[in-house]
Subunit: 567 residues, 2 copies
């Protein structure tokens, strides 16, 4: 009879427990969770705060009782595993309710402790109006503060998933919100120019977005207001009400009523490190492809571990729910004698930012640059479904690939419709090892309400293949500011468009449909830098010009890419 | 200078013309279209009739003038190519406006004539109230009939894409509608049990759906009503007003005010056949992988051609817009000296049926059976995104695969949300040659508004892998009626569910969470046929039972699959 202990009762741990029981009816399975809840929907917490998910109970997917009934798993909440005795294969457990300690032996131990919020040592940060959001009790505290203090202004520090979702939650509750991000962009899985679409959306919704700014200190000013018990105010109210004066590193200061710290998470490795398990260079628990730590009797999964990057093969930290769940399942397989290997993480991610979805898979340009990988990129902006059918929205799509063999490095997309679908397609294509040339042939669902006969992905693949084959010569938005004397800008849009959305200074305007007649106006001794709105007409113009002996380049993704790169 | 003639100015022809110009500035390109319009959105026609697309002009994507301005293509509408002189490389063209004929020489000829509606020789079918829908004039005639006759009842014959879309259009206009389909299901790209979801939706919307019924004869009864010109009725009205008496092959008869024949399409091969080009066994123009006909100077693309099936490698006819567009592009490449090969058609298809999307890719079960291919299948029914986030809908998903090596044969999905995405994922995975085992590792976008940590596809892959590895033993919905004396049915749902949605006669009911305690109630000498609502709890019960020495099978896809298979 195999005895399995599991540390952590959420995504990875709960998946492992359920899978282990399905494989073995007689294994003894004990799951320890130091918090009061197991298997809760941690990705749903901001949405309950904001009111999208109205019933708190919907977040509690399983209870200790339901786990016992269905899977015969002994779930011990409020029980923290405080140390591991690897030699004797046992753990010491502290009962957080009564403070007692006991030990429990194991044949296999699974660590799924997750990652905790990083709270930097900022002066004054430890105050009753500052929160982070990791679990149900955190959420309850935030909701309580909102209900009792009725904040008029909230500040979120950190423009990652949780920060963005909390920003939206506050906005939905009618609370004026400031979002502070130290980097020059939110949502770092995508590149700066793609984040520009998110910045525009965030500002359009009235959020005070401060990029490239850090929080320097916090001053808590308690409110001397005396609770009016007669009018329904609670006395508990009194001790946390107040406001925060925030000082930023750009010299500004800011008064706010509630502060959320969401600058990132760090793997929980204390237990593993103290037990002498190998910790990787990135600070996560080391695991091999079987999800085994440096001790063969101990497995680890989820946000706490380092895993293999699918694209580079290097170690990576990807604190996301999908990998955690699948790793938990595999670890259970392997503890019970199977031989499953984890196939690496692409880091496929998506975030709802008001009406936009922002998503990515694989490597972004920042990472490729950092790693010194030679790459090419394309942008397309095209309708999520047939543009003549109601509800079509622009999908802004970026694809990174190997300029020699067309191998896919990564993809990013932003838009109001069909973004998840396009990144899913790319995640599958990349995992399957497809090239951008092969993407041309993808046969995706098409009817007017759902797609286009030439889908976003097909179109991006056409553009990329044109570059690889030399049928097009690219210039990118970042190079537009550095044109030489030997280059001139040609805007091939219609004059009305230039007025409506703006244009680049110094460009000659010849609409594409007049170009064949007016080509003589262009010099043959200069390189013509062509642009249109999204790159499509630019390509038509490019082909006309080069087939007529001109030197030219086309701005990939057009003016729209250039414009939002600066948003 | 290359001279290219193109026959047909819609999807394939228009794509080829634009691509050819981008490749060569000096090629002479003439596009002939016997109708009055080029490059119109033929997939949008039913949606304009139904009112979703309000402006007719949105369907006209290009005009002869715009084609000339942008691509320097000589577009000749109302010009029909009536014969090909292959020896002299010229065609005879009839000007349909004045009846004159002329000839035009070519270096390369591209045939993109499309496919025409099949109208069977049913007595009485040729009458002013019976229509088919292929192009803008057809659409205009249908709209005119609706506007002038104000039909109270419409009948659509044929449950394919156009028939279903026309059914929905009539329903949207408040016209009572009967849909007649000779087969036992609509939307033949999916299998009968998946079509059951569509049947339920169609009937729920009040459509009179008649399956397994054919139209036998039509009697046109003109209305003697005299137009009251004074009250605004037109006299033109008079001559087409009336009603149709339909006689069906089941003895029923039916009175209707407008009849749409949409039983299918047939490749337009007259011109090709008369020129002696090879016609394939399926009745389409034969082409090789370069989209070249049996005459190397003549290419053909789109609905008129036979192409290679991606899965089987056999010839197939797939009249869909996506392949037509890509083939047009490739044919242009090859006419201008490139060497592009068409990579085969999976037949990826989707149709909106009221609130449902019904989609498929690859081979269906009917085709696999017919071809004698050994296959296994799984069904899952799971939420389109995190079930605790608003707006989640059930995706009912079927996957067909090789039971030995896990190769994907095809997939089908039905639901109100996220159906296109899942079939796109499968279309890519199949094209990339992935196995169901590999689908377990797919890392798809997940945040509560978009997906689940274990997506529909991951879940289907888990079920399929369980079958391949012997971790689960399947029984399918079709076998439930033929249980032997040595098998007993076990329903592991909660009693309330049985009452709410129904159950199978003779089943013992032990909720899965009580099974461990009550296992003794079950006989060890019989095979336990387990089922739950969708198959998930059934699998938990299955694992419990077999790990305790019972013989068992689990109904894949659960009661929901069984129930809708009979809808």
């Amino acid at each position: 009879m195999t005895k399995i202990l599991i540390v952590g009762g959420v995504a990875g741990g709960a998946s492992a427990a359920a899978r282990a029981r399905r494989l073995s009816e007689d294994a003894e399975i004990i799951m320890f969770e130091r918090g009061p809840f197991v298997s809760f929907a941690n990705c749903g917490l901001p949405y309950h705060i904001g009111g999208d998910i109205q019933e708190r109970s919907k977040l509690l997917l399983q209870t200790p009782e339901s786990f016992l009934a269905r899977f015969n798993v002994d779930v011990r909440v409020m029980n923290e595993v405080v140390s591991i005795d690897r030699h004797n294969k046992s753990v010491t457990v502290k009962n957080l309710v009564d403070g007692s300690e006991y030990s429990e032996s194991y044949d296999f131990l699974l660590l799924s402790p997750g990652a905790g919020p990083v709270v930097p040592p900022i002066p004054g940060i430890d105050n009753p109006l500052t929160h982070s959001l990791r679990n149900i009790p955190d959420m309850d505290r935030i909701i309580q503060t909102i209900q009792m203090n009725k904040p008029e202004h909230a500040t979120v520090v950190g423009g990652g998933f949780i920060g963005l979702e909390m920003m939206e939650a506050f906005h939905q509750l009618g609370i004026k919100t400031t979002l502070i991000e130290m980097a020059d962009q939110v949502m770092t899985p995508v590149d700066r120019e793609m984040a520009g679409f998110a910045h525009a959306e965030i500002r359009q919704k009235g959020i005070n977005l401060k990029l490239g700014v850090a929080l320097q200190s916090v001053e808590y000013i308690p409110n001397d207001h005396i609770a009016s018990v007669g009018s329904g105010e609670s006395e508990e109210h009194q001790h946390i009400e107040g406001e925060l004066n925030l000082t930023l590193n750009n010299g500004e200061s800011l008064t706010t009523d509630i502060l959320i710290m969401a600058i990132g998470v760090r793997p929980e490795t204390k237990l593993a490190a103290e037990a002498g398990l190998q910790i990787g260079e990135l600070g996560g628990i080391y695991t091999n492809e079987m999800m085994q730590t440096s001790d063969p009797a101990i497995y680890a999964v989820g946000d706490a571990v380092e895993e293999k990057d699918f694209v580079t093969g290097a170690q990576t930290l990807v604190p996301l729910a999908g990998p955690a769940n699948r790793q938990g399942r595999m670890a259970a397989d392997n503890m019970l004698g199977r031989n499953e290997t984890y196939q690496g993480t692409q880091g496929t991610a998506i975030c709802k930012i008001f009406d936009l979805a922002v998503a990515s898979t694989g490597k972004n340009e920042k990472q490729l640059k950092r790693d010194g990988v030679e790459y090419e990129k394309v942008y397309v902006h095209t309708a999520s479904h047939a543009s003549y059918y109601p509800g079509a929205e622009i999908v802004s799509f970026k694809m990174l690939f190997d300029p020699k063999n067309g191998k896919i490095f990564g993809a990013q997309a932003v838009g109001k419709d069909g973004v998840d679908k396009r990144i899913d397609v790319m995640a599958v294509a990349q995992r399957a090892g497809m090239t951008v040339e092969q993407l041309q042939h993808l046969e995706l669902t098409y009817a007017p309400p759902y797609g286009s006969a030439k889908d976003v992905i097909n179109q991006a693949a056409f553009v990329a293949s044109n570059l690889i084959k030399g049928d097009a010569k690219a210039i990118h938005y970042g190079e537009i500011c550095d044109l030489s004397e030997d280059q001139i800008l040609l805007d091939v849009r219609n004059p009305g468009e230039l007025e409506a959305v703006g244009c680049l200074a110094g460009a000659i305007n010849i609409p594409v449909d007049q170009l064949r007649q007016r080509m003589g106006e262009l010099p043959k001794d200069k390189e013509i830098i062509i642009y249109c709105q999204v790159g499509l007409r630019g390509n038509v113009a490019y082909r006309q010009l080069v087939n007529n002996g001109y030197k030219a380049r086309n701005l990939i993704g057009g003016y729209r890419t250039y414009k939002f790169a600066h948003a």
